[in-house]
Assembly symmetry: C2
Homo-oligomer: 256 residues x 2
């Protein structure tokens, strides 16, 4: 029996509450394989015909499911070669979650540069109440905390604190150097695929410490970005709070 057959009435499906189109079921099965790690970032998937045969549906149905996953950025299709699980290393994917731009830039994506990071601190500790809420963990769980300053050639851009739940990053040690592109790091080392990111933006006054780090006068207005990165299975895998100088940089957003 194929993976997608209706177990209650294979030949003549009755009216069911959970009725779903075949391509939705096919997509769910394939997304589950991404979540479980059966299909890992960078891996070549079986061909459309092979998947279709395995699931007992037509190639067109698998194509529709893969098309949706392509739009979502989960897979990358290459004509003549095959379909691959998306990696967070492509430039387009690198900048997918990066919206800060120098003020003089007209074209957002063209001259965009990724700022270098400089660590101020990293530590491990018990999860605070807020961190327990955010990650859905208990007081016994540990978290990793990073504090870093990111700068471009023209000087400091932003200060940020980054928190990771320990349970998703088990073999983490204190001497691991978190790379600039952390989402690629999560992807290749832990198979964690960041599906989306929720951000909250506010204008706040820089504290004396932050103002000094960012080379700003005290009480300068800075842009606060509270970000939670959410994995494919819906769990929050990263919490980040950034304070960005707002005189030389801005946050660009295109709503469609």
């Amino acid at each position: 029996m194929s993976a997608l057959e209706n177990p209650t009435s294979p030949t003549k499906p009755a009216a069911r509450l959970e009725a779903q189109p075949l391509y939705v079921k096919a997509r769910n099965i394939m997304v589950d394989r991404l979540i479980s790690g059966q299909w890992r970032p960078g891996q070549l998937l079986p061909s459309e015909f092979a998947i279709a045969a395995e699931l007992g549906v037509s190639q067109g149905t698998v194509r529709k499911a893969l098309d949706e996953m392509t739009v979502q950025g989960l897979v990358v299709r290459k004509q003549g070669r095959g379909t691959y699980v998306a990696e967070a290393e492509d430039k387009s994917i690198l900048f997918r979650f990066y919206r800060l731009t120098p003020n003089d830039d007209q074209d957002a994506s063209a001259s965009q540069t990724f700022p270098e990071s400089c660590y101020l601190s990293k530590s491990q500790g018990q999860a605070s109440g807020q961190e327990q809420d955010i990650f859905g963990i208990t007081a016994d769980d540990k978290v990793w905390r990073f504090e870093r300053l990111r700068s471009s050639a023209d000087g400091p851009i932003l200060w940020e604190q980054l928190v990771l739940p320990g349970r998703y990053f088990p073999d983490f040690t204190a001497d691991i150097h978190l790379p600039n592109n952390v989402y690629q790091f999560y992807s290749t080392n832990y198979g964690i695929i960041v599906a989306k990111v929720n951000e909250q933006l506010r204008a706040v006054s820089a504290s004396d410490d932050v103002a000094e780090l960012l080379n700003l006068p005290p009480d300068s207005p800075v842009l606060e970005i509270d970000r939670r990165a959410i994995a494919l299975d819906g769990t929050v895998v990263e919490w980040r709070r950034s304070l960005c100088r707002s005189d030389t940089m801005h946050y660009r957003n295109e709503l469609k």
Copy 2:
């Protein structure tokens, strides 16, 4: 001859630089009808089969084109009834471009309320240099300028200045009351469909005037949002600069 036939070699298309899939051509033709006003917001389109027959392609090709337009929010498909040009009045579309949320809101879309507007001023004048750049107009062109304060039940939320190029809103008069949902107004009265919105966010200090209007202490940090609304044909049809209080509100963004 159908609208989509290749004029150079109908039977055996040679390699052409401008080669485009049929569904792309079909989509372009249909989008052009939206731009020209031949198809206006709210209007019922011909059926997929009718469009396919007119363009000389199969129904599946028209469907693929319409699917893309549906994703883009240009048309709305209703099973059993037909395909309609999208209107800006649906709640989902209303909040498509509205990202400001009270701080206590957990669910962004649930208890979201649209703030009421109160006019402070409206006037017509010659386009400034910056306005000429933004709208691609000359010094002879006139612009409409609006200044308004938007408030919720709890008090003022934001102050904003809104600029419209006169040439796109010809029969505008000073006593027209710009409604709360301006994009629906553009759509129903001028057939202007806003396809996307580009925003730049910064943290700035409130001037004395703005601080008083927003009920804030002087020099409070406020969120500045510089927005340009872009119509289907790529022209900028609205420029807006908002200053939003950042103590009770935040700007939410979901990146996928």
